[in-house]
């Protein structure tokens, strides 16, 4: 059984003027323990695709089967329970601005009715895990982007999810911070056996941590499979401009840095 099975998935957006085919007939199988990268340009449909995996977006047709459960057949309440197994982190971190770090991590647990004491213990443990034990009482606005993403990762892990979805999680971060976040993700993937699906427009992210990759272009999957088998169209369109394209050397360094972080 696959951890996540996406079958013939299509998504159309209806507007008054026209119908937009955001995704067409997508098929992806994610196995347990994978770090699955979905890469594409802006507008390729990757944000929509990743939101179909926890049904923040409802597919127009097709199936999303997570741990054997077809999400489309769950009622709203069952879906909410299922979402507790599928955590998500975001490009802009999306932390509660009016709550401090520890209360942000506790938040998903309080939604489930876990006692405050138990939740706090768990939150402090996770905060130490992401290397921010001394920031418990800080507010998100007092933290750097990388630190906020670490808090978001701790928050995502609080409910012991089986799957972690990463929505452009490093796109707002500088290369160094990106490397440290990626190594944290890799560590989480190993240590907690959490399956990770990430979307990105950065080839370097895919190369640094993914074992599988799918290439999305204009709402369609043009390639997918193991990272060493898939021919990645690196030169075609994935770097927004020359300046943001890392050199071969830069890429090697990024990889080395990730390896160092993972240890």
């Amino acid at each position: 059984m696959y951890e996540i099975e996406i079958k013939n998935l299509s998504k159309k957006f209806e507007t008054k003027e026209a119908t937009v085919d955001a995704l067409r007939n997508i098929n992806i199988n994610v196995e347990k323990g994978d770090i699955y990268g979905i890469i594409g340009m802006s507008g390729a449909g990757k944000s929509t695709l990743i939101r179909c995996l926890n049904y923040l977006e409802r597919p127009t047709s097709g199936h999303v089967i997570v741990e054997g459960k077809e999400l489309g057949q769950l009622n709203e309440k069952e879906l909410r329970v299922q979402r507790q197994n599928i955590s998500m982190i975001f490009q802009h971190f999306n932390l509660l601005q009016q709550k401090n770090v520890i209360d942000n991590i506790i938040f998903p647990l309080t939604l489930q009715g876990v006692s405050k004491k138990e939740a706090r213990a768990k939150a402090f443990e996770l905060l130490a895990k992401v290397g921010l034990a001394d920031k418990a009482k800080s507010y998100p606005s007092q933290l750097s982007g990388g630190q906020q993403q670490r808090v978001a990762i701790a928050r995502a892990l609080a409910t012991n999810p089986r799957i972690l979805l990463c929505d452009e999680a490093t796109s707002a971060l500088d290369p160094q911070t990106t490397a440290s976040i990626l190594s944290l993700l890799k560590q989480i993937n190993k240590e907690y056996a959490i399956t990770i699906v990430l979307i990105t427009h950065q080839m370097s992210v895919v190369k640094a941590i993914c074992n599988k990759v799918a290439v999305l272009e204009d709402g369609e999957l043009i390639e997918s499979g193991n990272i060493d088998e898939v021919k990645l169209p690196e030169d075609k369109f994935f770097w927004i401009d020359e300046a943001s394209r890392p050199t071969k050397k830069g890429l090697k360094e990024l990889n080395k840095e990730v390896q160092n972080h993972v240890g």
Binding site: N54, L56, V81, R83, S87, L96, Q97, Q98, L111, S141
Partner: protein, 219 residues
């Protein structure tokens, strides 16, 4: 300068004005806050879009707001008399103040809640939060600074409206200003009441803003 009867009258006026403004604002929020929340979530981009509910609330809010307060005050006299037992005095003034202010408050609440970052709401959804949980644990918490700032504005505006009720025997400082300053040409009393109204406004404003800023962790 003033005899003791006048002084105690002014003192009573101050208390009545505070009583009317504070109680009306509180009751105005008791109606306006839920109405604002419903407007926010039933809007077409809200958590539970409901065009029918939104249109009804929208219409109520717009109709009430388009009636000038002085007219609303007079229009509501039979209703006020039924509820309070009389149509003059400070308690009676609370009725039109609440009805007149609730739709404004609802609109301000709606504006505050719509400022909450969509991403944070999406994050809560991704964690499996229900609509009720999102309202109470995300929207109202994240928007609290803006809500309190707006509550301060509401209190100040209601203070001004309560003075307007003085023209029809509404009690409070406005009533005194109209009866003595206007009908009896006692300019000194009018000036004193105006100064007191300004002072009250300042106190309300500064307290509200201090609370709002104290609770804000965003900046």
């Amino acid at each position: 300068m003033l005899d003791s009867a006048t002084r105690s009258m002014i003192l009573e006026g101050i208390l009545q004005t505070i009583y009317m403004s504070v109680v009306s604002t509180a009751l105005g929020y008791a109606l306006g806050l839920p109405m604002g929340v419903l407007l926010t979530i039933s809007d077409k981009t809200g958590l539970k879009p409901n065009a029918f509910l939104y249109k009804i609330l929208d219409a109520i809010s717009n109709v009430v707001r388009s009636v000038p307060f002085l007219i609303l005050l007079i229009l509501l006299i039979p209703f006020t008399r039924r509820i309070v037992g009389q149509s003059y005095g400070s308690t009676a003034t609370i009725v039109p103040l609440v009805i007149g202010s609730a739709p404004y408050i609802a609109r301000m609440v709606e504006a505050s809640l719509k400022e909450v970052d969509e991403g944070v709401i999406e994050a809560a959804k991704s964690m499996g939060a229900s609509t009720t949980q999102i309202i109470f644990k995300v929207l109202l918490v994240e928007a609290r600074t803006s809500l309190i700032t707006n509550a301060t504005i509401a209190l100040g505006t209601i203070l001004g409206y309560s003075a307007m009720a003085g023209t029809v025997g509404g009690g409070g400082l406005g009533d005194i200003a109209v009866r003595y300053g206007y009908y009896r040409y006692q300019t000194d009393i009018m000036i004193i009441t105006v100064i007191l109204l300004i002072l009250l406004f300042q106190i309300f404003q500064n307290t509200g803003m201090a609370i709002a800023n104290g609770l804000n962790h965003k900046k």
